[in-house]
Symmetry: C2
Subunit: 341 residues, 2 copies
Amino acid sequence: MVSNAPTIKDVALKAGVSYSTVSRAINGKKGVKPEIRERVLKIASELNYFPHSSAKALVQKRVGVIGVIIPRTSEFAFQNPFYSNALLGLSTIANAHEYQLMLSINNQVDIASLYYRRQVDGIIVIANRIHDNTLIKLYEDGIPVVAVPGFPPGSGIAIPSVNSENSKSVYRAVSYLMGLGHRRIGFIIGKMDSWYSIERLAAFKKVFADKGLECDESLIRESDFSKTAGYSFMGQLLDLDQPPTSVICMNDTITLGALHQIHSRNLKVPDDISVLAIGCSDMYELFNPPLTTIKTPVIEIGKTAAKLLIKAIEKGSCDEGQIILPSDLIIRESTGNCPIR
Amino acid sequence: MVSNAPTIKDVALKAGVSYSTVSRAINGKKGVKPEIRERVLKIASELNYFPHSSAKALVQKRVGVIGVIIPRTSEFAFQNPFYSNALLGLSTIANAHEYQLMLSINNQVDIASLYYRRQVDGIIVIANRIHDNTLIKLYEDGIPVVAVPGFPPGSGIAIPSVNSENSKSVYRAVSYLMGLGHRRIGFIIGKMDSWYSIERLAAFKKVFADKGLECDESLIRESDFSKTAGYSFMGQLLDLDQPPTSVICMNDTITLGALHQIHSRNLKVPDDISVLAIGCSDMYELFNPPLTTIKTPVIEIGKTAAKLLIKAIEKGSCDEGQIILPSDLIIRESTGNCPIR
DNA sequence: TGACATATTGCAAACGTTTGCAATATGTTG
DNA sequence: CAACATATTGCAAACGTTTGCAATATGTCA
């Protein structure tokens, strides 16, 4: 244990100047004679001196840390590549702006205290729920927060947020499947307290409405985003008297579970059933067959969220509202013509 | 912005007691009259008071934060599920002991300053290099550190670390392939400054030596762990005059790249070539064919690493040395009899 | 050289806690 | 009730910085 790390006092003493001068020299403030600054820096380096961040935070009223909250909805939810990609984007921007990342994989019990105890200067919630009252209250109290993906535009909640083109890409995906002749399209979505689920489902239904087709609601299954749920709901769909001829999976983990179910029944994709994944995994091109995918730009979402939060922290406010990034429908081989039954 | 958050003073004033009493009441220290404690807690809660963590850290000389360093070797290395699983394990234990996690996805330029600035109480390095002098120096200076996977036992570096049974499981995997008739076994490993690579390669060679067989070193390729490298080295192996009849891939990302290469040549697994993955992804059972895998218990590794570090922080030292967790060879369908050529 | 402007430096308060010690209140025992 | 033990409380120092302000040094100009 380094029992007594050098403090600014030690540097000052050795350099023969006052604390204040050392502080100014180290922080590159104006008004310290060049030769003195040089000497101070040299001595600081010799002594292996680093400013104590807590002391600094105490007086400056900022810690230089961004809190990242990831809900621990289930034991393994964090394995969703969505989160690693988001973190990667966040980290890139945070580092560039000299912020550290504090990661909390939580059932969000103490989001608020993380801020109130001033361990972080602001908070990013990844995969927020639309009834996350703690988050909403934090925002209303003027605390810097950013939500991914955010809240329905009509909800009146103006928390800065970053989303991707869900409506557009789901609309396009469903239209594409219909173009292949599919009419019975399954959709395994996530919990309906997620804006992702709400928005994607709305787009799904709108295609049917716009084309004057009836949407069989029994083919829509609300899951908890997990692999297990993907597996079991896919099973339920396949057990129907009239099973769907194609299925859309809401995220990467659901996709894996659903595929597992399909494989275990020895069904062929896309001959028996077409599969379309929504997600950010870049493994899908390696699946057999390679999966048709709505690719969500999660790294970019992370980067954007970090930029928004830093702006909110430093400018004191952020009126960017909701930012929407483009997403792509990548057509591969897991979707094909509707089998004739 | 909450411009003036309540401090301990505000609580003390309103409760009509001194700061010290409030402090003792809130921290559950002995020697404060039950009714006073109750009143203080009630008022603190009414005022939405939380102790300022920097002030606390300053006097207590601990911040309650664990630093997690993940090397950013390449832009997308962090996508390796190895890291999410490790983080999941770390988070579980850290939370249970009331530590926060500070995540740094770095080219480890400022590991040391993270500690010297007292932003963390200790540091866990995931996927350390064996010549990481900063890490070694931190350890020698008595700073709490844990390395995953650590250093070669013979190196004389006693940094606490957590590894899995690489030698044993690779030995078993190679023996298994040989049992299927394979003699030309490719091995795409990672950088040789990783104990993972060194140890796994040694076990690989030992099987050949023990069986009195010659090991063709041209089938061993040193990569940078990336998907891209997996793709190109797999290509090189397949381009050989006598390509291997089976291949072992060092980690999840290499595996994906190698499979991509194999698929793009329209080769069949395992008829044309057997593939054996080392990693922690639980997607492999869903691949077509499902992949034979040495499953590394990364969540457990993360948990153990966190426990070691917390012990080192709180006890002031940790003499556990290197902990080795069991790993499994899971035989699926990507490995089969050696094709006759 | 004197008068002023400006650059450099130091002093000391402030940030919000915890904690050793002394002071006081309360309880117990003979 | 005295004498002591013990439980409760408050005082004030300490943690390591930053920063406004005053003090001093240095430079400039007439």
